[in-house]
């Protein structure tokens, strides 16, 4: 008997009768998490655990984004209480609400679901280095919406480390139980079969060997082939409920009726065709670390250490063609001292792997560091690193560019020195209320907000805005309705006769914030040429009317 390697994990055996029998030797463990979408959310909101909660997804109608809005909201998953009330996947939200009026609704977060699943998958790498998260979602198949992604572990050969396959299964299940994740687990020679068993099996933890594969799969419903809803409906319509019934049909009759997907899936499940799975990759973090016998007790020595660490990080970044956007320095003292580690973070305006510059920034960040009892463990992490685009230098613009770079470097340094909250850029905000018309954005986020609002009017705004308007005494021109212009102002003990006054510009309060007062702004020039921005507020309380004046800014 000869063995042939046929597919990825498949071995063909040539038997005496010269026919080739394919025997998959791989073992896949499938973790099917039927309520991943809701479980993940409820873990964060334990107060909702016993409430009827559903996760929903809005299915755009017609596609192509035309017509805007509209669309069906589908229930993707329901909490145990919701399921008990009869609300579950595949229903529309409206239908669910009709059954269970007090339903609480969460929007599906597909990306977060995926990331959390990957995290769980990484945790599972303790059983095998090969962990994959299911198959890619197929476009246009509504069924996949309600088919949560599984974890697939290739555990072939791993039983040697754990004792037996049963023990692996038991440990996986125990771990899932510990995490409070409802799950069903199955082991089979192909990923498709493992999933089919885990998904449709009544009993969790089943282990199916190669010789019993066909038999075990035959009894499963056709849905377990991961086919799109139309094909499943078509099969069911013909009375074909189990995979076995489909297997019994002549192969050549299938593709013309159900497309090639059915045969492909059938072959994959039975191991006659390799199934493509992409294992979770492991990204090596960019970091460097030095542990020392003696404690580093002075800044000078620490900076030498930093030099070494930066050198290593830069080499790593060079290899990746990337630059650092954020550095994190963690210095630990001897554990016996019981001191908390010192952490410093440095942000950069643009990716860099210029060693000198990085050291300089780190030095700025550690300038006032108290070395205390000294550090024995210094670690430099680069939690945020980005691809560095090759920059083309133009002959004439190089100076401009150098200036720009210089400015950004300065800002980086200032930010490190003074703290991110103290280095801000003003960004326009669309509001009529002057003190709301801007906000201070951190240097690194400044690009996001700029230009959104612009300014309201062509009317000049003062160059200096007082932090809080200062109440001033004003003599106004006589008027019936208290709308007279200001004629004279007393500010900080000095009397300004207002020779030239423009206005009023009437700005009503933002009622939706509960501010109803109206301000009349005047742009006023005094006899000496000083220009003020002042406003009047009229408050009416029953019969009494009070008029107050405030100085809000100066034109310099």
């Amino acid at each position: 008997m000869r063995e042939l390697i046929v597919g990825q994990h498949i071995v063909g055996k040539e038997t005496d009768s010269k026919s080739l029998v394919l025997v998959p030797t791989a073992r896949y463990l499938c973790v099917h998490l039927p309520h991943w979408a809701i479980t993940r959310r409820l873990r964060r909101r334990p107060e909702l655990l016993d409430k009827p909660v559903v996760v929903v997804e809005t299915v755009r109608r017609g596609g192509g984004g035309g017509g805007g809005g509209g669309g069906r909201v589908d229930v993707v998953d329901g909490s145990p209480a919701a399921m008990k009330a009869g609300v579950g996947p595949g229903m529309s939200l409206a239908e669910g609400r009709a059954i269970c009026p007090g339903l609480l609704v969460l929007e599906r977060q597909a990306e977060k679901d995926r990331l959390a699943l990957e995290a769980l998958g990484r945790w599972m790498t303790r059983f095998t280095p090969f962990v994959a998260t299911g198959w890619p979602v197929e476009k246009g198949d509504k069924g996949t919406l309600h088919r949560p992604m599984p974890l697939l572990l290739n555990v072939a050969g791993c039983e040697r480390f754990f004792g037996s396959m049963e023990i692996i299964v038991r440990e996986v299940r125990a771990a899932l139980k510990r995490f409070g994740l409802p799950a069903r687990v199955a082991v089979a020679p192909t990923p498709g079969a493992a999933w089919a068993l885990a998904w449709s099996g009544k009993r969790s933890g089943r282990i199916v060997g190669a010789d019993e594969l066909a038999e075990a799969v035959a009894g499963l419903p056709v849905e377990a082939l991961r086919l799109c809803g139309e094909i499943v409906a078509s099969l069911r319509n013909l009375g074909l409920r189990t995979i076995g019934q489909v297997m019994a049909l002549p192969r050549e009759t299938l593709p013309s009726r159900f497309g090639e997907a059915l045969l492909r899936r059938l072959d994959e499940v039975l191991g006659a065709r390799a199934d493509l799975l992409l294992p979770l990759g492991y990204e090596v973090p960019v970091e460097a670390r030095l542990e020392m016998d003696g404690a580093v007790e002075s800044l000078e020595v620490l900076w030498l250490v930093l030099q070494e660490l930066v050198g290593r990080v830069v080499t790593d970044l060079e290899r990746r063609c990337e630059g650092a956007r954020r550095l994190e320095l963690i210095c630990k003292s001897d554990p016996a001292d019981g001191l908390p580690p010192v952490v410093r973070t440095v942000a950069l305006s643009r990716p860099s792997r210029d060693g000198r510059r990085l050291i300089e920034l780190l030095r700025c960040a550690t300038e006032k560091l108290d070395c205390g009892k000294g550090f024995v463990d210094v670690r430099l992490k680069v939690p945020l690193h980005e691809r560095m685009t090759a920059e083309q230098m133009c002959l004439l613009e190089s100076e401009v560019q150098a200036d720009q770079n210089g400015f950004e470097q300065l800002m980086d340094r200032l930010t490190v020195r003074l703290g991110a909250e103290n280095v801000v850029c003003p960004v326009a905000v669309a509001s009529y209320i002057p003190e709301r018309a801007w906000r201070g954005a951190g240097f690194h986020e400044r690009n996001e907000g700029v230009g959104q609002g612009g300014f309201a009017t062509a009317i000049a705004r003062p160059t200096v805005l007082l932090k809080t308007p200062a109440e001033v005494r004003v003599v106004a021109e006589p008027s019936d309705d208290r709308e007279g212009r200001p004629a004279q102002m007393t500010y900080m003990g000095r009397v300004h006769r207002l020779a030239h006054v423009l206005g009023p510009e009437r700005l009503a309060g933002e009622w939706w914030r509960g501010h109803g007062k109206v301000r009349d702004y005047y742009d006023a020039l005094d006899e000496t040429g000083r220009r003020f921005w002042l406003f009047r507020v009229v408050t009416q309380q029953e019969e009494s009317v009070s008029v107050r004046w405030f100085l809000h800014g100066m034109f310099l």
């Binding site: 319509n237 013909l238 009375g239 409920r241 019934q245 013309s256 609002g453 510009e505 939706w512 009349d520």
Partner: protein
């Protein structure tokens, strides 16, 4: 109409609208006012603006909505009530070519016409709701238009306008305290000096009172689709755009008072008022050289001779003369002639139609063929029309076959022209849910919270939205944001949101319609709509005819066509008025409540009334139609009537008691109980001494009191009037209570009679041609009360053989097959009228998802190629997609080829229209034979239901009968046995849920109709029970109800106590894929 819809919603700051205006000094006229008819811009109703302007003593106010005159009638109506107030009709014309906005105030009727034409042109060229105009368009229509050019603008832009308008042009400038007012005024003055065009002061008004700023901001957010927090500079900076006092305006323009004087000058020059509009009836229906009155008289008498072949009686002649005199005196001849023209056209095309309404309530209309209600037999109350006609134009509604109404609408467009005819608009206003949604969205509430709030609006409308309701919805009632949302929502209720088209109102005019009102495109193809709704039309006095669609007319028309085409019917042609009258067999059937599918009397309430009423003549049907209505039910008129009727039946000598002889005349037909609106009016005239005009006022109040009361002032007059004539106080009170009960729901007798005509016609077809009846109803779906399954079942119960859909026999419509006739049939013996008649073949239209074009292709292929022998054969000759074949296979339509569902489906799938290169499945007959699992009978039945909505094989419930029997669940047939299940007995019944309804009149009661293999059971569930079993009641396919029997004569209900989901008892149902997760 003195009281129109929007006035009821008037929520302005003024509790009492002013009745006159005293222009103050110094004077002011506001010429730039945007009302809420500039949708999502203005924040006040036109009448609020008018009243406020009057209170402030304005000389005049112009309404200038954006490219629209939609609000001018409302403003005009308000202005009419304020003596001495001048309303100027105008529009703000916004261009697409960059020209600054123009405020246009037409000087006279001719200029107004030009403005209408301008707006019509802009709107006809743009999609619904939009307007596309260029400066060139305006210049073409600029004659006689006083115009304000909105700044900023520059001298070159003014040039062409000045050339066209000369002294009528002004520069409109507004100072809204934006800080640069001084500069703007200076710039404007400079421009004015440079060009010689005078400045005109406005305030660019958006609301009548500054307190509306909040609402205006919210509307702005809705318009931009943003929240208030994101809105930023899209909002106005302040609340200055309100109607200021003239003193304020003068102070604002202190630097240039001439601008204000210019406004007064322009206002004085604009002489046009909507009162100048003269509407004239179309004349197309009158031949040249003939007087309309003579033509109407001629047509009437020709019609009369047709209607009464044996001679016109003196009574009818007298009626006709009286009516003709009135009609001609009021100059309404053309109206009647136009209606006649539409009816004649419909007749000539074979479209069934029938008129209704107060004006239709006449002998003239009967003779013109507009109605089928014979004045010989009915007491027609022409007074109602006559009295109405003094204040508003006549009103006739015509029902057409619903599938062919569009033909007549297009006929009107073709005959009178798009410029002369248009659909009436229907103003869509903010109602509870839409209001809270838009407001909440603008205020940034989450969609979820909005849903919850919208759900609670029911309480709000009852005026009792309490903190606990809010808390229940998960909303914090103390949250200021929520409070603001609710405040703004309350304000926005009743605001116009957009214009839609009226269901069937058509306006036709002699002069071009676009001279009266702008016309715009509807969202529906080939429809054009005017900007005014029906209340506006009444104010202006425009002629409107309602062309409505009625499904039953389609069905009757088809039914008569089948009967006329049947083999035995050569030569005899059945028409609506030649259907044999007063056929006892028809009344027998109706008295048994065997009326599934019959017009009007098929509903559950009607069916429970029929056995008690025992109709024996046509008038009984008229009463039946009118009595089962919310009005009479709430007026407590049903029981007295039934009681007297039953007495009379038991003892023919029974004398119905009448309080007086004069009332005997009024009420004798309805046994002393007022059932019709006409009777209420006559009662008021005869017994309470009302004049006909007062009686008409009473009718209006009756129609509207639900919404804003107003009946009280009639109460005393009515009761005192009756007491004065010697009636008992109790009786007077009772009469008044009954009259108030009519509300909006009272049925006029003529209306009921028109409907009863259709009741009789459909009942007659059902009784004598049950197969044709079933076919015509099935082919007119969707309509009526019952689904195809019930109609088919009913036909089979009456002895009709129903044959399934088959590719070798069916057409798109259901058809009648005369080959063998109905020999054997199931059903109750005594009602097997269909035996011996044709069989009913279901059409492809019963197959869900089937397209008519595909069906037609199959039929024509079959005609040319003969019977299909295989699927491949059929696909080739009919060129069908595989999907269609599979759909037909799933619907079991290949029985004639000897293929049941699954084998047919298997073959259909193989005939893939896109064969894969290597797997070409064509020519499969040689392919391997495949044994597919045989479909169990229950699955077959369920598949029938899934694909066609009905099954001819077995009833699904029959599969569960054994299990149900074990649970002591009885059948619908067994429930009929009064001895076994007397009133009050405890029973369990089960069936498929046919109907679940919660009528508005029955507070909190849910009616459920269950169907099992023997018949239907009517369930009543109190709200509390329904709520408890809500999930079961909504989702069970097979629902079991346990409760007590309620018997009232032949009428049986089960009062539900508990409900169970028994779906699992039907094998196969639960094996759906949903269970795997």
């Amino acid at each position: 109409m003195p009281e129109s819809a929007h006035e009821k919603l008037y929520t302005g700051a003024l509790a009492e609208p002013p009745t006159s205006v005293a222009p103050c000094e110094p004077g002011y006229a506001e010429l730039d006012v945007t009302s809420n008819y500039s949708f999502l811009r203005g924040a006040s109703h036109p009448d609020e603006l008018v009243y406020q302007a009057a209170v402030l003593g304005y000389r005049a106010m112009a309404l200038t909505d954006i490219n629209s005159l939609a609000g001018v009638v409302r403003a005009y109506e308000a202005a009419r009530k304020v003596a001495g107030f001048k309303l100027i009709v105008g529009a703000r014309v916004v261009f697409v070519d960059g020209t600054p906005d123009l405020l246009v105030w037409p000087e006279d009727r001719e200029a107004y016409t030009r403005l209408c034409r301008l707006l019509t042109r802009g709107r006809r060229r743009a999609p619904k709701g939009e307007c596309q105009l260029t400066l060139e368009d305006f210049l073409e229509y600029s004659e006689g238009q006083w115009t304000g050019l909105c700044l900023p603008a520059d001298a070159p832009a003014i040039g062409p306008l000045y050339e066209a308008l000369g002294g009528r042009l002004s520069l409109a400038v507004n100072l809204s305290l934006t800080g640069d007012d001084h500069d703007r005024l200076e710039t404007a003055m400079a421009l004015s000096r440079q060009t010689g065009v005078p400045l005109l002061a406005t305030n660019h008004v958006h609301y009548h009172d500054p307190s509306r700023r909040t609402l205006q901001d919210v509307l702005t957010c809705t318009r931009h689709g943003c929240t208030i927090h994101e809105a930023g500079y899209r909002l106005f900076a302040n609340a200055e755009r309100y109607l200021k006092t003239p003193e304020q305006m003068h102070r604002l323009f202190e630097a240039y008072p001439k601008a204000i004087a210019r406004g007064l000058e322009v206002a004085a020059a604009c002489r046009f008022s909507l009162a100048d509009l003269k509407y004239e009836y179309p004349t197309e229906a009158v031949p040249k050289g003939v007087l309309p009155s003579a033509h109407l008289r001629e047509l009437t008498y020709i019609g009369a001779r047709e209607r009464y072949p044996d001679g016109v009686s003196a009574k009818v002649t007298a009626l006709l003369e009286k009516e003709l005199k009135f009609i001609c005196g009021s100059k309404y001849e053309s109206y009647f002639l136009t209606v006649h023209d539409l009816v004649r056209e419909a007749r000539s095309r074979g479209i069934l139609c029938q008129g209704r309404g107060s004006a239709a309530n006449s002998a003239v209309c009967y003779c013109l063929g507009v109605t089928s209600v014979d004045p010989e037999k009915f007491q027609l109350v022409f007074e109602r029309f006559a009295s109405e006609a003094r204040s508003e134009p006549p009103d006739i509604d015509i029902d057409f076959e619903h599938e062919r109404r569009e033909e007549i609408i297009q006929y009107v467009y073709a005959r009178y022209g798009r410029t002369h005819a248009g659909m009436t608009a229907s103003l869509i206003t903010y109602r509870g849910r839409s209001a809270v949604r838009d407001v909440g969205k603008a205020m940034g509430l989450s969609g979820d919270l909005l849903d919850q709030l919208a759900d609670k609006l029911d309480w709000w409308h009852k005026g009792t939205l309490t903190a606990s309701h809010l808390a229940e919805a998960g909303v914090d009632p103390a949250d200021p944001m929520i409070r603001r949302v609710l405040e703004v929502t309350a304000e926005v209720l009743g605001f116009p949101r957009h214009l839609s088209q009226h269901v069937g109102g058509m306006v036709i005019a002699r002069s071009p319609l676009c001279d009266l009102v702008p016309i715009e495109n509807a969202s529906m193809a080939d429809r054009t709509v005017i900007e005014w709704d029906k209340d506006d039309l009444d104010v202006i006095g425009l002629f409107k005819v309602d062309m409505l669609a009625l499904g039953m007319l389609t069905a009757i028309s088809k039914g008569m066509a089948y009967i006329n085409a049947s083999p035995g019917a050569e030569g005899r042609k059945l028409e609506l008025h030649t259907i044999p009258a007063e056929d006892p067999a028809v009344y027998d059937m109706a008295s048994d409540a065997d009326t599934v599918g019959v017009f009007q009397i098929e509903s559950r309430a009607q069916m429970s009334m029929l056995p008690r009423l025992q109709p024996r003549r046509f008038y009984d049907l008229v009463i039946e139609v009118a009595i089962v209505r919310p009005g009479p039910i709430q007026g407590k008129m049903v029981h007295p009537y039934l009681e007297r009727r039953q007495r009379l039946r038991a003892d023919p000598s029974y004398q119905v008691p009448f309080p007086s002889d004069e009332l005997r005349e009024v009420l004798k037909e309805t046994l002393g109980v007022p059932l019709f609106q006409e009777q209420a009016m006559r009662l008021a005239i005869v017994a309470a001494g009302f004049t006909p005009t007062e009686a008409d006022a009473l009718r209006r109040a009756m129609a509207a009191w639900k919404r804003h009361g107003g009946l009280a002032k009639f109460h005393d007059k009515f009761v005192n009037g009756m007491l004065g004539r010697g009636y008992q106080p109790d009786f007077a009170e009772q009469c008044f209570q009954q009259i108030s009960g009519f509300g909006e729901y009272g049925f006029p007798e003529s209306h009921a009679a028109s409907f009863a005509k259709l009741v009789y016609a459909s009942a007659w077809i059902k009784r004598h041609h049950p197969a044709a009846f079933a076919a015509c109803l099935l082919n007119s779906q969707p309509m009526g009360f019952y689904a195809p399954a019930q109609l088919v079942r009913d036909a089979r119960e009456h002895g009709v053989t129903v044959r399934p859909v088959d590719v070798n026999a069916s057409e798109w419509d259901c058809t009648l097959e005369y080959d063998t006739g109905c020999a054997a049939a199931e059903g109750r013996e005594k009602r097997r009228w269909g035996v011996g008649g044709p069989a009913l073949r279901l059409g492809f239209r019963q197959v869900k998802g089937m397209r008519q074009t595909d069906a037609e292709r199959i039929v024509s292929a079959r005609r040319s190629a003969g019977v299909f022998e295989s699927l491949a054969d059929m696909q080739e000759s009919a060129q069908l997609e595989t999907g269609t074949l599979d759909r037909l296979a799933r619907a079991d339509a290949f029985a004639s080829m000897g293929l049941s569902r699954r084998p047919a489906s298997w073959e259909a799938l193989a005939l893939s229209n896109k064969p894969l290169p290597l797997w070409d499945g064509r020519g499969e007959p040689d392919g391997p034979k495949v044994a597919l699992p045989v479909m169990p009978p229950a699955d077959e039945v369920l598949a029938d239901y899934a694909t066609a909505g009905l099954s001819l094989k077995r009833h699904p419930v029959s599969f569960a009968r054994q299990d149900l029997g074990r649970e002591k669940v009885i059948t619908a047939a067994a429930l009929q046995e009064a001895r076994r299940f007397p009133h009050g007995a405890k029973v369990s019944v089960a069936g498929l849920v046919l109907v679940r309804q919660r009528p508005g009149t029955a507070s909190g009661v849910v009616f459920i109709t269950l169907e099992d293999e023997t018949g239907v059971v009517n369930i009543i569930a109190w709200a509390a029970i329904y709520e408890r079993y809500r999930r079961v009641a909504r989702h069970a396919t097979l629902l079991q109800v346990t409760g007590t029997v309620q018997r009232d004569g032949q009428v049986i209900h089960v009062l539900a106590r508990r409900m169970f989901d028994r779906t699992a008892m039907i094998p196969g149902v639960l094996q759906a894929s949903r269970d795997f997760h």
